[in-house]
């Protein structure tokens, strides 16, 4: 415990480093997975190709990837960018299938009726299909968030700073408290990001709340807004 109190600054710094690695990776993997997932959902031929490719992507062992990537993209091996690219690739690998499945989960009747009342292709995608795929996308994104946070620790082995550095350092110097602090902080960080995603999901998708019963109070607001 004393180690933690006297090194609180270090733990904070590593937590911050960890966030810098994982948050951009999570966001990027979502954004990149969207068009590929859409392609996989939309066309049968592209589906097989895309889903097989991303499946294979996930099978690449992480450590060799961290080492090989700099040679491909020209970053230095310890650069956070190197890690972000690698983490994004794994995120994309998980997320593309989720996007394809999420879009596939949208009720065909609702899609048809959207078309029938005059939604054009793109408007329908942004305003109907994407929001309705939301719950599935969120479930996938939560998995990606947690797995990215845990995977980011591996970067410590190649010298990129993260909460993983607390285990490697603690291991080398025989400080048990540091190892434990690293593990606990990683788990906490994963939980916090996960909770954050759940909250964002609630805010963006109010119709999925089991108790959308705050209705009675809110209808007055709309009625007033409209009559005003």
């Amino acid at each position: 415990m004393t180690w933690i109190w006297s090194n609180l600054d270090l733990v904070w710094d590593r937590t911050f480093d960890h966030l810098v690695l994982s948050v951009p990776s999570i966001i990027l993997s979502f954004l990149i997975a969207l068009p590929f997932g859409w392609l996989a959902h939309r066309y049968r031929t592209s589906r097989a190709v895309i889903l097989t490719t991303v499946g294979l992507l996930y099978a690449i062992p992480s450590l060799p990837l961290f080492i090989v990537l700099p040679f491909i993209v020209g970053t230095s091996i310890r650069s956070p960018l190197n890690l972000i690219i690698a983490l994004t690739l794994y995120g994309v690998a998980l997320m593309v299938r989720v996007v394809a499945d999420g879009l596939g989960s949208v009720d065909r009747d609702v899609q048809q009726s959207a078309t029938a009342v005059g939604f054009s292709g793109w408007t329908s995608f942004w305003q109907v299909e994407l929001p309705l795929a939301g719950p599935v996308l969120l479930a996938g994104l939560r998995v990606v968030a947690v797995s990215t946070v845990s995977l980011a620790t591996v970067g410590a082995v190649i010298g990129a700073q993260s909460l993983g550095s607390l285990f490697t350092d603690g291991f080398q110097r025989g400080i048990q408290a540091e190892i434990i602090a690293g593990i606990v902080a990683t788990v906490l960080l994963a939980l916090v990001l996960d909770a954050l995603l759940v909250v964002i999901g609630r805010l963006l998708m109010p119709w999925t709340r089991p108790s959308a019963i705050g209705v009675t109070s809110r209808h007055d607001v709309v009625a007033r807004e409209v009559t005003a």
């Binding site: 009720d107 009747d109 609702v110 048809q112 009726s113 959207a114 078309t115 029938a116 009342v117 005059g118 939604f119 054009s120 408007t123 109907v128 929001p131 309705l132 939301g134 998708m205 119709w207 959308a212 019963i213 209705v215 009675t216 809110r218 209808h219 607001v221 709309v222 009625a223 807004e225 409209v226």
Partner: protein
């Protein structure tokens, strides 16, 4: 006025859904397509807003060939109501109704204002405006669906088995509501159903379809009831089973109307004192609105 000119639709799998179909659907009247599944009735309806394009032939709306119109724009000008309401589950009732006007560029505030007024029109309490569709009963959802269909004040309202999934009591209510609305608004309504009683109740012009999108008979309910052209139509309207041949029996308490199978169809009352169809049970009365049937049939000629 909607005109079908020798319209044929063959789907890629070879199914002939509609075969050389020609018909004029008069403005401000209700035309009902009625038939069993596979009769092409929904395909016919969907061709009017280009959800389906014909393989050959053409469809004109007020003289314009819709094949030359941009589908999305065309659809935004035509009301569409479908079974299970087809409402967007992630939007509140009021936003569902305001959807199409907003797609056409109406400011949100104005669209919502008009949407609230439309809830009144279809007999929904304004307190439901902020609910999500899943929080409404089936009947309420269908009313929202109708309100959405009316939102752009279209000349044409397409209704694809809109009352198919609600229970009989609610269905009867919604049917009466639609008759009332139609009397006020006078839209050109195209209604699809497999229920012949619904067709006779709502239709000025009823089109009975047989498998493969062939017309079996077109006419007013009274014409079809009085003169079914063939066995198929007679069976379809129930005339062959004696369901449509009613006679009066005196049971002491009053005059009871009975069909040929011996089933009690209702009681006999003075034409003046009866309301809509309250005199006869909904499924076995002689005409669409009891005593008013022939008068209604006469309108559409």
């Amino acid at each position: 006025m909607i005109e079908f000119h020798s319209v044929t639709k063959r789907f890629p799998d070879g199914t002939l859904a509609v075969d050389d179909f020609s018909l004029v659907l008069p403005s401000h009247k209700t035309t009902v397509f009625v038939g069993t599944s596979g009769s092409g009735k929904t395909t016919l309806l969907r061709m009017i807003n280009r959800m389906v394009d014909p393989t050959s032939g053409s469809i004109d709306i007020d003289g314009d060939d819709i094949g030359t119109l941009e589908p999305v724009k065309l659809r935004r000008g035509i009301g569409y109501v479908m079974q299970n309401s087809g409402l967007l589950p992630h939007r509140r009732v009021i936003d569902n109704v305001a959807t199409v006007p907003m797609l056409r560029g109406m400011p949100k505030k104005k669209a919502r204002e008009e949407a609230l007024a439309l809830l009144d029109t279809v007999g929904l309490d304004r307190t439901l405006a902020d609910r999500y569709p899943s929080q409404l009963s089936g009947g309420q959802q269908q009313r929202v669906g109708v309100a959405r269909g009316l939102a752009v004040n279209p000349n044409i309202l397409l209704m694809d088995e809109p009352f198919g999934a609600v229970d009989p009591i609610v269905r009867a209510e919604l049917q009466q509501e639609l008759l009332r609305l139609q009397q006020e608004l006078g839209k050109t309504v195209v209604f699809v159903t497999h229920d012949i009683d619904e067709a006779f109740l709502l239709g000025d012009q009823v089109v009975i379809l047989r498998t493969g999108g062939k017309v079996a008979q077109v006419g007013s309910p009274a014409e079809i009831l009085a003169n079914p052209v063939d066995e198929f139509v007679a069976t379809f309207v129930g005339a062959d089973r004696g369901k449509r041949s009613l006679h009066v029996e005196n049971h002491g308490d009053g005059d009871i109307v009975v069909d040929e199978t011996g089933r009690l169809a209702g009681v006999l009352v003075d034409a003046g004192s009866s309301g809509h169809s309250s005199a006869a049970s909904s499924e076995s009365k002689a005409g669409p609105r009891g005593p008013g049937a022939s008068a209604q049939g006469g309108d559409s000629r």
